[in-house]
């Protein structure tokens, strides 16, 4: 084990320790437990997007749709069908993943800006459905008047409804499983193939790799994890509305990934934390939060395109 590997291990350990103890120190420094849960949820969404964006090199601007599908699936099951959190999440995840799998073949052949445009356009389909079909989705008002349900393991019950801390640790557990799965996939031969496609698609094609199929698979995996994040998002505030799957939400995921650093596994987590803490602070001080977000986007693109971790890595190397 050389030095950089050791550093990586230390950084990983530090991140997990911080996440595990967050409910205790967050309150001490003036935050609140819910903010921690929100950071984890958005971080999962941005990491899922980064699976496609940073590791496959494909630009998607429509991930909010699958995030929202997960959320709506969860909310609708608990509200109308069956009051069980795990069942509802399962339905949400399946809904988001199936939609992505169906749309995938249409866009897997496209590249660059064309891919981005088509993902935006297809993403808006679900926004319109959620917005228009108000008898089922609640339209513009969204779905409220339902509650996440305590999780019964048989031998014990985790009361995520009444305890913020319990909900945080539930989110953290789901986050850990998903992050572990993504890290495992990226380290597998499949993940290495995705990297090869990102680095040089033509050469990958010459090696006989079915590039379009790999992009489709990476797209579906990415959307699967983003819909998990969407389920948790709906559970967080017992509420979901069409804004969860609008294009500006997709933009938020992308900016979080870029802000933290697209080429690093933990980058999106750091990006999400910075973005949400700033949002929390600024939106409590001014009504013109949108202008600040916009300015934030512009400044990051112009002065900070490598993101926090990209910058640190670069300093480290020189």
């Amino acid at each position: 084990m050389n030095g950089s590997d050791l550093n990586k291990q230390a950084a990983n350990a530090l991140i997990w320790v911080l996440l595990l103890t967050a409910p205790f120190w967050l309150v001490e420094i003036g935050g609140y437990v819910e903010l921690g849960s929100r950071v984890l949820i958005y971080a999962l969404a941005a990491m899922a997007l980064n699976f496609l964006l940073g590791y496959t090199g494909v630009l998607s601007f429509g991930h909010a749709a699958y995030f929202g599908l997960g959320g709506y699936g969860t909310a609708m099951v608990i509200k109308f069908l069956y009051p069980s959190t795990p069942v509802a999440m399962l339905v949400g995840i399946v809904a988001g993943t199936l939609a992505a799998a169906a749309i995938g073949p249409l866009i897997a052949r496209l590249r660059g800006v064309y891919f981005a445009m088509c993902t935006i356009a297809f993403g808006q389909v679900f926004y319109y459905i959620a917005f228009q079909w108000s008898s089922v989705t609640g339209g513009d008002d969204g779905l409220s008047a339902w509650q996440r349900q305590p999780i019964n393991f048989g031998f014990a019950t985790l009361d995520i409804l009444n305890s913020n801390k319990a909900f945080y640790y539930f989110v953290l557990a789901v986050f850990a499983v998903c992050a572990g799965a993504m890290a495992f996939l990226l380290r597998s031969p499949f993940g290495r193939t995705l990297l090869a496609i990102r680095e040089n698609e033509r050469r990958a094609r010459f090696l006989g790799i079915p590039v379009d199929r790999h992009i489709w698979m990476s797209w579906v995996i990415s959307c699967l994890f983003v819909s998990v994040a969407g389920c948790l998002y709906a559970l967080l505030s017992d509420f979901i509305d069409p804004r969860a799957l609008r294009w500006d939400q997709s933009g938020n995921f992308v900016i979080m990934a870029v802000l933290g650093g697209m080429r690093s596994f933990w980058g999106p987590l750091i990006g999400a934390a910075i973005f949400l803490v700033l949002q929390d602070y600024i939106s409590s001080h001014t009504e013109n939060w949108m202008s600040f977000v916009g300015l934030f986007f512009v400044l990051i693109v112009l002065f900070f395109p490598r993101g926090v971790l990209g910058l640190i890595k670069r300093k480290h190397e020189t």
Binding site: L59, R111, C118, Q124
Partner: protein
């Protein structure tokens, strides 16, 4: 029934004309600079609001003439200061930048002109219906169609018959060679961006007369404009024009038979085109 069909078809054509006007501007910028201008809807809103402010001083016609040029000027300035820096980088960054601009413009118009929707006066000579049997055919709608047609013809004249147009078309195919041949591509892209934004500003003034003004006026037009480009084919301006009119007419006709699907039908058209012809109806093979 026939009247109903004609009514909705005309409606669809008018909406299609808007889509086409927006999409042509987007397409010009995308083709030459590789930038998806997400702030296009914002520029459209600025066009409408500037005309609203200028109207009392210049009258309807003066505002219609001046406002799009002012918007184009703003666009040129923004390209110079911000967007130019991102040429040649991953398209991700220009997309994020225009995303941010779209937020700032929407919030800015809300800050200056207020969040409530404002009425936009059109001259009474244009607002009267032309005939009693076709009551929906007001002078303003016919005027809009004629004006859009004239502008589109003018645009294609510029592209096909002037030196600037020749350079824009050449640059779309191979910007490097155009640059090597001694054309200042920085200025070319700058002017081209202004031209695209001019079309957005004009669409904004016209839309204001039909829909009234609100900060999110561009939101409902930007997505169909994207789809116009995808359906028509990336890289082809005639394709974009055809795409805009096609989806406008299709959503108009769908309104007759199945009103709630009028929005959905354009996405269906996009999906069908992507299945059978991924490069779009008029797109060139292998460009994207």
């Amino acid at each position: 029934m026939t009247t109903l069909i004609i009514f909705n078809l005309v409606n669809g054509l008018i909406i299609g004309a808007f889509y086409a006007l927006m999409a042509l501007g987007l397409s010009l910028i995308l083709n030459l600079s590789g930038v998806i201008n997400f702030a296009h809807g914002g520029f459209l809103a600025i066009g409408g609001y500037l005309a609203y402010t200028l109207g009392p001083y210049l009258g309807f016609w003066g505002a219609l003439l001046v406002s799009p040029f002012l918007v184009a000027f703003i666009g040129v300035a923004i390209e110079r200061v911000l967007i130019r820096r991102l040429y040649g980088r991953d398209p991700l960054y220009s997309l994020l930048l225009t995303f941010g601009l779209a937020f700032m413009i929407e919030d800015g118009t809300r800050f200056i002109w207020g969040a409530q929707s404002l009425p936009y006066q059109i001259p009474s000579s244009l607002s009267a219906p032309l005939s009693t049997s076709f009551f929906f055919l007001t002078g303003y709608r016919v005027f809009m169609l004629v004006l859009v047609a004239a502008v589109v013809i003018g645009l294609f004249f510029i592209l096909n018959r002037t030196r600037l147009g020749l350079r824009i078309r050449a640059g779309t195919l191979d910007l490097e060679t155009v640059s090597v041949l001694g054309v200042n591509t920085r200025v070319l892209r700058n002017l081209n961006f202004g031209l695209g934004i001019y079309l957005a500003g004009l669409a904004g003034v016209l839309a204001a007369g039909m829909l009234g003004l609100q900060p999110t006026i561009g939101d409902s037009l930007i997505m169909p404009s994207f789809i116009s480009i995808i359906v028509g084919g990336l890289g082809s301006l005639p394709g974009t024009l055809a795409g805009g009119i096609l989806i406008g007419a299709a959503s108009g006709l769908t309104t007759v038979f199945f009103p709630s699907a009028s929005e959905a039908v354009i996405y269906v058209i996009m999906a069908v085109v992507l299945i059978f012809r991924p490069r779009g109806l008029f797109g060139e093979e292998g460009r994207f």
